[in-house]
Subunit: 426 residues, 2 copies
Amino acid sequence: MKETRNFVLRGNICYSLDPTTLETIEAGYLVCEDGTSAGVYRELPEQYAGWPLKDFGDRLIIPGLTDLHLHAPQYGFRGLGMDLELLEWLNTRTFPEEAKYGDLEYARRGYTIFAGNMKRSATTRACIFATIHRESTVMLMDLMEETGLKTMVGKVNMDRNSPDILIEESAEASARDTLAWLEQIHGRYENTRPILTPRFIPSCTDELMGRLKEIQRDFDLPVQSHLSENQGEIAWVKELCPWSEFYGDAYDHFGLFGGGVDTVMAHCVWPSEAEIARMKERGVYVAHCPQSNTNLSSGIAPVRTYLDQGMNIGLGTDVAGGTGESVFRAMADAIQVSKLRWRLTDDRLKPLTVQEAFYLGTKGGGAFFGKVGSFEPGYELDAVVLDDAELQHPQELDLAERLERLIYLSDDRHIAGKFVAGRRIF
Amino acid sequence: MKETRNFVLRGNICYSLDPTTLETIEAGYLVCEDGTSAGVYRELPEQYAGWPLKDFGDRLIIPGLTDLHLHAPQYGFRGLGMDLELLEWLNTRTFPEEAKYGDLEYARRGYTIFAGNMKRSATTRACIFATIHRESTVMLMDLMEETGLKTMVGKVNMDRNSPDILIEESAEASARDTLAWLEQIHGRYENTRPILTPRFIPSCTDELMGRLKEIQRDFDLPVQSHLSENQGEIAWVKELCPWSEFYGDAYDHFGLFGGGVDTVMAHCVWPSEAEIARMKERGVYVAHCPQSNTNLSSGIAPVRTYLDQGMNIGLGTDVAGGTGESVFRAMADAIQVSKLRWRLTDDRLKPLTVQEAFYLGTKGGGAFFGKVGSFEPGYELDAVVLDDAELQHPQELDLAERLERLIYLSDDRHIAGKFVAGRRIF
């Protein structure tokens, strides 16, 4: 029996309308009708008067957060070994660890920790990389399904420039295994969807990319990958695909770069003007991962440019380039690095505001999942209840200030409840 | 009756010998004799066999952390309103809040929160700014004394360029009140010392600086202030003190810049070569405050230069330029901003390593308090016990890796015990 998803939440409600407009309603009512927002009200309309009401008192209620980019198999080494740049870090730290996920017993240990912590986080939606291993990818999807979060999870494709311990034997084998994976999970989940996941151009042959496009088309799959993270990586892509106009063009060439294909590209730290124009034209989503770009000495993405251009953009934690799964921390990091970029690199691009960072972590990234990340009528009702009582202060604070403090100071202790598409998961 | 401070701690012990040498001893013994380290041993020497032994099992034992710079009255607005640069931020956010500390009832609320959270932190030593208000400064010192931390606390001096609500009426009045403060606290504390605290050159007249030098000499006081944080601030100092060779010279001119006077200067983001040379010559301590320098868009200090020059340097959280009191977070921030500086500004200055950041937060800053911040024999026994069991992971980790994870991921939940100069405070 499916539970009813018609109810009312009462509390201090905050949500974004657009990057610069934060709505704050003290002691307001958020109405959920069949898993979808029926609006936020200062007084409860009469037609909802008889509905079940949960009063969260002085707590805050905000939209669930979206993490547009993270790697589940890297969660076990979060906060470790971050003294290398991207390409060396992949070979030294990341690939050897990911290779272990061919072992289902190890994978269960690692993915159980990951899924448990994701459940307790403020995240309700996420785009997740697994590894090349089909069976453990399905295990990860099973575990994520149980959390109640709505996620897209990808079996990774890699058929070149990868160590023997973490490579698929051919483009054909990679494609075949991807098809077997899609068959295995067909109809298996309510919350969990597959997403096509070529790791990045350097680890995927042209032949593989061509086959992945066929699969993408046949199954109407979304796509996630990495783009223009590091200057060495960009130069390498130019060598590998001399025919490409720029890095993103190497995806676009195979029809895996937006334009009718839901696509999210992580990082976009060093885009060319032509790349920005193409991303905008194709509606490609940027997953801005500020902490990862710092830890791996990649640089600072021009987020102000992306916002000014009205492009699709949200936040990613990029565990384990980033050290944890907190999208609040990603919001704070996004503001902080934007200030350093303004000070040190280009003072024409204004730093991000708190409102903008909150938008990116809610409605900005949520849009990749449809009408997600706000409480406007018609949005799926993802909500997080926050309790800031323990963050003591001597002065009066308004609701926007309380939200700002939670962005900078909160951790999982402050999360008092979470709803995904109208279903309470804790 | 004074408790005995002869005992042995057993656990996984980590401490720095120098910036690049981290000692790690699994299941080792740390001997405390009269509040001071008598060394770390793999096997317990026979002469200590009968001493009380506290076994912390698989937990880590590290030196207490030193916070060389933070503002107690700003703790209440940590994580709030960080969309301004330094000088505007002071006038808009900071000075109005500090002005409230003339009200003892408000001060008790704010300082009680601050002292409680400092006690629970991994910090054992700190250099703290209060406000210009004598009575509430004494209240803060009383509260810090009760925590058991060893701190230096300063009544702030400000007699120019400050709003009416937060200014002393003359140099003479400021000096007189400082003397009254020193008289009031004379002999009052075991853990808490006064430190002379001219806010910064822009808010102290030459006359006041001259009087403060007399007080410094008469009472043999240490000194704390701010230096070269922001380019607008530096230009202003040049206008205010046209006779100064550089910002630091404006302190040195009055004999308040090291050279026999224990001096710690916060920030040092934009030093000239002459300023660096003078600081080195005078043995001035740098309090590197990476998060504050980011939040206020100040820039990134050349920490690699300070280390290469063998200068005195430690870390500061600079609450509320920084958002919290965690020196672990300051370590992580120091590494992270050093990577961005290397990538974006000057690739001749290598990023900091984890070992170096740990050194800065322990032995580097601890040296301002004497032999503090290591477990080598003769060091005062400040120790923090860390429990990382809750930070789950699927793979084996060695001790250095466990410490690295705690630097990036820990919060107050992971602090299982704290000792200051051989006294357990929780």
